[in-house]
């Protein structure tokens, strides 16, 4: 996603660009530019506070989090549920990947730390101590 392709490419097309994707009939969502270096001047106030709360010097694990697109919808991959989480439909997306990534990180933290996250129920069901 750091190349010159349209920022909304995956929202306005089926995203089946490579031969491999055409063969299997699905877009391979992990392959955005996962190494896109975060632009720290674009941190949201929420993320700044999160980094401060955790006493980290940078985004830490969130450096690997980017806005992706699943089945034509903007979404973020949540490793804790091993699935994509769609962003609210009425959310207006910025016109560049850096700002979209920051929004993705913020939404993911809010989702993971929510008492309504699916892991909370799994924890109650399976925890051993």
């Amino acid at each position: 996603m750091s190349d010159s392709r349209d920022i909304d490419h995956f929202l306005v097309t089926d995203g089946l660009d490579t031969e491999r994707e055409k063969d299997i009939g699905q877009h391979i969502g992990y392959r955005y530019d996962v190494n896109l270096v975060p632009d720290y001047s674009r941190l949201t106030p929420f993320l700044e506070k999160y980094i401060e709360t955790m006493a980290w010097d940078d985004l830490n694990w969130l450096e690997d989090v980017h806005m992706g697109y699943e089945e034509g919808r903007p979404a973020v991959f949540d490793r804790n549920i091993n699935g994509w989480v769609s962003v609210p439909e009425d959310l207006e997306l910025p016109d560049n990947q850096q700002d979209r990534d920051m929004i993705a990180r913020e939404l993911l933290i809010k989702f993971q730390m929510s008492p309504r996250h699916p892991m909370v129920e799994l924890n109650r069901a399976y925890r051993k101590f």
């Binding site: 699905q26 089945e71 549920i81 989480v85 809010k110 799994l122 069901a125």
Partner: protein, 281 residues
């Protein structure tokens, strides 16, 4: 019987009867979520509250239970004295915490952690920070084999040398080695970044699917499907910033490091991906 009861609870919640279809879970973010920074069941700790544990006479389980008790009491900075290279110390911490080990750890130290900042003044045995999710772990001396196995996220730093198979199966995050690393480092790496400031052993990046390995010294040999790529300005910028955080420097400058990536001839995992998700859920 306790195990059976737990399984019953999961059945009652419908977890074993849910019919899964499609590739996504159709989960949506709620814009009304509160601004929480820690997991719902995490302990509310204060970094300014500091305490110490003397681990000399305690076994690993007792040390880990003590850490949990102290977090429950609100201590945010804990110093463990005399860890004595005991195994599995500091594991499973899903909390913000400043944790200091004054000495060395045995195997599986700091595994399965999500959030804490850990500093270890001595050495660590094999499989340090295995499956780490987030946070920072810094080791001042050397580390054993399978350092950062299956790492998911966070920064794992060893300022000395490490053994073989560093970052095997890593799926994210950053591993930094101040010295040398052994054979098969980055084996089956799937994502994330590995930075080796010294020399790398044979079969570096063998069967890696994705991710990036940077090497400051000599490479004894590349593994299957690992290829050299061109360093760019973003690589150097990221490396300089990250190394500076831990007081480290690339021996010949960040821009002169060797970058290794996947040749992507072994990319077959996408076929399995939808099945994998259904199985896990």
């Amino acid at each position: 019987m306790a195990e059976l009861d737990r399984e019953g609870a999961s059945f009652e919640m419908g977890m074993h009867t849910e019919q899964l279809s499609g590739r996504t879970q159709q989960v949506y973010f709620s814009p009304e979520e509160a601004e929480n920074f820690t997991y719902p069941e995490a302990f509310d700790v204060d970094f300014n509250r500091r305490t110490e544990i003397d681990a000399a006479e305690l076994d690993s389980g007792a040390v880990n239970r003590k850490l949990r008790e102290l977090m429950e009491q609100g201590y945010g900075t804990i110093v463990v004295k005399n860890p004595g290279a005991k195994h599995s110390l500091g594991v499973g911490i899903l909390n913000r915490l400043q944790l200091y080990f004054e000495g060395s750890l045995g195997y599986f130290g700091c595994g399965l952690i999500d959030g804490p900042n850990v500093r270890i003044s001595g050495r660590v045995g094999w499989s340090c920070a295995e499956n780490m999710m987030a946070g920072t772990v810094v080791i001042e001396k050397n580390a054993g084999s399978v350092f950062g196995a299956a790492l998911r996220g966070g920064d794992l730093v060893c300022k000395g040398d490490v053994g073989s198979r560093t970052g095997i199966d890593m799926k994210g995050g950053t591993i930094i080695v101040g010295g040398r690393t052994g054979a098969f480092s980055g084996f089956m790496m799937q994502r994330g970044r590995m930075v080796i400031l010294g020399d790398a052993g044979v079969n570096l990046g063998d069967s890696m699917y994705d991710g990036t390995i940077y090497v400051g010294g000599k490479i004894a040999g590349l593994g299957v499907d690992a290829v050299e790529a061109e360093m760019n300005a973003l690589d150097a910028q990221w490396l300089e910033r990250k190394l500076r955080l831990y007081g480290l420097e690339a021996p010949r400058g960040a821009a002169n490091m060797t970058k290794i990536v996947a040749g992507k001839k072994l990319w077959n995992y996408d076929n399995l991906e939808p099945t994998e998700k259904k199985l896990v859920l």
